[in-house]
Amino acid sequence: MPGNVSALHLVLTGDPALYAIVRLSLIVSISATLFAALIGVPLGALIALTGFRGREAVIVVLNALMGLPPVVVGLAVYLTLSRSGPLGRWGLLFTPQAMVIAQTVLVTPIVAALTRQTVEDLWVEYRDELTAMSVGALRRVITLIWDARFSLVTALLAGFGRAAAEVGAIIIVGGNIEGFTRTMTTTIALETSKGDLPLAVGLGIVLITIVISINALAWGARRAGEYFAG
């Protein structure tokens, strides 16, 4: 198929337009994942280790939020950042920053929920020993997060995968503006609808490669974790 041949050509010769789109996609999704980690890991650990009224309900809600539809997140962030909206003053709509914000909202529940599960499971294992060694509260959290680091990395990779593959949220808050807010997924959507397949297919190849790489990394992280988990 001619579409595929010229797609491969674009990918292999490092077509600058294609790689600019790839770069933006990675920057947006990686940034969102980092923010999600900064918020989600401590939050998940906190919920895992403290008792409070309504804890069960919070956990159920947190798990449910993992399945937030991206378009719904996009719409909510759009309305918030719109110049007629509460944060309109910041002028963030239709910028890459807005895309980072939307994807952070999408990914944080994933990171938080998976962290909560991981830390709680490990705490059940470690509780007696850490208590017997008189380990203080802060140190406990650090120990659990460190010893569970491979599972947490897997959680981050899951979050990143979600961000990199979604199109609904970023197309709404980013506006899919040429040269500014076009990512792999939004461009694939656009070019396909225009009937311009080579670029779409080329980006699809890159995107699938990235997804496979993420999964390979996650597999590697799991194996590394097993080395210590025995």
């Binding site: 770069r23 990675l26 920057i27 990686i30 940034s31 980092l34 923010f35 719109s82 110049r83 007629s84 309109g88 003053r89 910041w90 002028g91 963030l92 709509l93 239709f94 910028t95 890459p96 920053q97 980072v100 914000i101 506006g175 899919n176 503006i177 040429e178 040269g179 500014f180 609808s193 225009k194 009937g195 311009d196 397949l197």
Partner: protein, 277 residues
Amino acid sequence: MHTSRTLIAAIAFSVTALVPGGAQEDKSIVLASTTSTQDSGLFEYLLPIVRQKTGITVKVLALGTGQALDTGRRGDADVVFVHAKPEELKFVAQGESLKRYPVMYNDFVLIGPKSDPAGIRGMKDIGKALQAIKNKRASFVSRGDRSGTHIAELDLWRGAGVDIDKDKGAWYKSIGQGMGAALNTAGAAEAYVLSDRATWIHFKNKGDLQIVVEGDKRMFNQYGVMLVNPGKHPNVRKELGQRFIDYLVSPDGQKDIANYKIGGEQLFHPNADDIGA
């Protein structure tokens, strides 16, 4: 190495990500326009020229006409550039813009499959052609998205004496998407579809489709540009927006528009000086 540079960029970027005001260009405007205008390739050609001549970076939001106007109403765009005169006049009447400027026109063409089930190829009367399509229940794809093209299509059905809301059936496929998608669908379903000429020429997936009816005066498509009312939305970049509009309607800008050609064929005809347009 590429990956570490991307990672560092990601981290540095993250730091700036939530600074209010963000990393927006200083001399840029947000232009809400239509998908058919973008699909025609006009912006790809024109915006670098705009940047060179005025220093303004134009960020294009390609939406349906209805969405574009709504974006202007919310103040999320600085300039609106669509092709649905009644809607534009309403926009001004509602105070969402202070003035509408005509810019250019192109025309619509009726596209159909080589098999031509309604037998209308070469007809000069669009009304009669549409009647034939309805009578033969030939497949027809509608954009269905409140876009300028969609509104023009509805006008043409009305002009042909067809009450499309009542008379439509399984043969009438309303897809709610842009011009490119509509053409793709028509090609796949062997259906007729109304398209603007510019998008049609620019479209890369023609397959079995071809122009079956063109040239009827009722198929002309007028474009207008409006600055979003800064009185209503103080954040609107009114100086840059106005400067962009001034360029579009200036003799220089009009000549640049006329010079946009695909395969030697001119796509848009400038008519900013036509007061009634």
